[in-house]
Symmetry: C2
Subunit: 375 residues, 2 copies
């Protein structure tokens, strides 16, 4: 059993829960190993692509839409897979009825008719709890979204390996920017080359959050690529957050398409130094907010950057521990954290970012890209 | 007021509803004009990006996450916009509390304390109805997902214009395949060129569903592009479903990278003929299933294709009317329908697709691409 599953079970016990009914892609992946792509939004042929039921004492079961199943499904040991009818063309669509009936059957089979079940109240569709409450009026549904978010902050080694692979894609993206960015090229043209290199390395299309902007727009900190042409001496800010098999990577760099002024170079070095200081502080026992404070402190001669200093990364691109001024969460081994200090001036912005693991022996940086300001 | 809003109001009246609380991107766009991108999944800083409340007699109000608001928000006349606090870094995240408090305040302001409110039970998170039920125990929540799906089958002219723009992107994609596909190139490389042309025309990144496969994989009907290299005499099947500002286009073509055999050419012509027959049948008064039957009939010397003959297109990529053997829905002017007959053999598949509007004077084809089998 994975360490994270043990922590979930322990949490369930402490709250007197008889099980969990999990529906978000992040939690389903974390606790079952199953991931589905979401790049094109919800399917009109499914109530949900998947739902994971974890019983406190009778194992776990994953209910999947049968039009998901054609992909090779690989899940953690001991998890039963069931299917419900989703897409059809010979018969009217009955995915709602099939989903709810398979789900209630599962509860019947496990003889769960009473007790407390943890759910993601922010995510689970109302119709699911409405139906289950009709059939099992004695079950109490407990919202555990925020508790699980905190549990997920510490990663197991298999998860760190998965994040490392995604971080490698982000590295490939940064190298591609350095290789291809040129005056006269549009931001979308550059993005196309970057994404092709990342997707070729992944062997498939991947969900990809990306800031890729040039010129004065870098002062705003981010944005999607546009048809704007890059010009000589433009800054190019590239923040890539690719998702590989459900785990995210994260990396940011800023370059200038020409010769930076000494003032600009100095800011770049300061931001890079702030990042180094932040990474060094990723040690067990430190408070999350201390890492944020150290990075902001190194940049206190500039106007303060108006966003988090960093964030956890895992099956969600932003998760605990948030590296922000208020967060007293204590860093622990296995936390995977992206740090992204920045300086934004009136006409340009500079941000650099690394992704690292908190380790007993000192932080392990997962992004191997070496930030540089010039091509 | 749009015709679709009038139909929604009329439906609400017929069901004795005092209003609607809509949460899915498709419905929010249809009835408010507001769209948010969903390419990278749910935001960890929002309960929902948006919720639309439509009162039976007091206008409509759109509640948005304030980190959505920086985009220029343009909505239908008469809709009030309110914001809730989502992303923050100086204070702990309170998006759940802020969302639920703004929502209940809105109900208080409108003096809605009782009655029947239509919701999308398949979509609305349980915590929202849980909270509203606590504060307003006399309100009855009615699931109207399927009813609205049927109402949305008929499009207004402004929607048809939006779909036409998305269909134009699909056309650009098909022309790009004919222009660039070549032996030695990977499917992902071709996809990169196709997507760049579509995104450059759109001026931005767009959600894009795409089958883009070559060789024997075309026999399966679809799939995402891979690192497989295309070879001489390979079939290339390209089905592009791009989303522009929330409205979808749809188009499919199949080419062969070389000289087709006369048998292959004959199948291509048959499938194209089946499509023409289907499009001609898109006239008011026909049953949806009749269009499906006619297309399958033209291809009855081949093994029957194992998917729908077509589907409605709008703010969702597959919607009513479904063009399938069981669907007795009567076609009406303003329905926008994609037809996609196909023949799948053991070693290759051929599918072509057009998107058209049902009009009193005869169907209007929105995809302008002229299907061709050779470059």
């Amino acid at each position: 059993m994975t360490e994270r599953k043990k922590r979930l079970d322990l949490f369930g016990k402490s709250k007197g829960l008889n099980g969990f009914l999990l529906t978000s892609p992040s939690n389903i992946l974390s606790y079952s190993g199953y991931w589905y792509d979401f790049q094109t939004g919800a399917s009109p042929f499914q109530l949900l692509p998947a739902v994971l039921f974890i019983s406190a004492d009778q194992g776990a079961s994953l209910l999947l839409a049968d039009n998901e199943e054609s992909k090779s499904v690989s899940v953690h040991e001991g998890i039963t897979i069931k299917l419900y009818s989703s897409y059809s063309y010979r018969e009217p669509l009955m995915f709602r009825e099939s989903f709810l009936s398979e789900l209630t059957d599962g509860f019947e089979t496990m003889k769960i008719k009473t007790g407390r079940i943890g759910i993601e109240g922010d995510h689970i569709p109302n119709v699911v709890i409405q139906k289950l409450s009709e059939v099992f009026p004695s079950i109490e549904w407990i919202n555990v979204d925020q508790d699980i978010a905190v549990l997920r902050a510490i990663k197991d080694e298999d998860e760190i390996e998965s994040i490392k692979l995604a971080a490698n894609l982000a590295d490939i993206g940064q190298e591609a920017v350095l290789k291809y960015a040129a005056p006269g090229m549009t931001e979308l043209e550059l993005f196309s080359k970057v994404r092709l290199e990342m997707e070729t390395a992944a062997g498939a299309r991947i969900p990809l959050m990306a800031d890729l902007i040039s010129g004065a727009a870098t002062a705003t900190g981010g944005g999607n690529p546009r048809t704007k042409k890059m010009e000589k001496n433009d800054f190019v800010l590239s923040d890539f957050t690719p998702c590989l098999n459900g785990y995210w990577g994260d990396s940011c760099n800023t370059i200038v398409l020409g010769q930076p002024s000494s003032g600009q170079q100095e800011i770049f070095e300061s931001v890079k130094d702030a990042l180094d200081i932040g990474v060094k502080a990723l040690v067990p026992g430190n408070e999350a907010r201390e890492v944020d404070r150290l990075m902001r402190g190194r940049l206190d001669m500039y106007e303060e950057f108006g966003h988090h200093g960093g964030h956890g990364v895992g099956t969600c691109y932003h998760e605990e521990p948030r590296i922000v001024p208020y967060n007293k969460m204590i860093l622990e081994p296995g936390m995977v954290i992206a740090l992204e200090p920045a300086v934004y001036k009136e006409k340009f912005g500079i941000r650099v970012e690394h992704l690292a693991v908190v380790r007993t022996g000192g932080p392990q940086i997962l992004t191997k890209f070496n930030h540089r300001f010039s091509q």
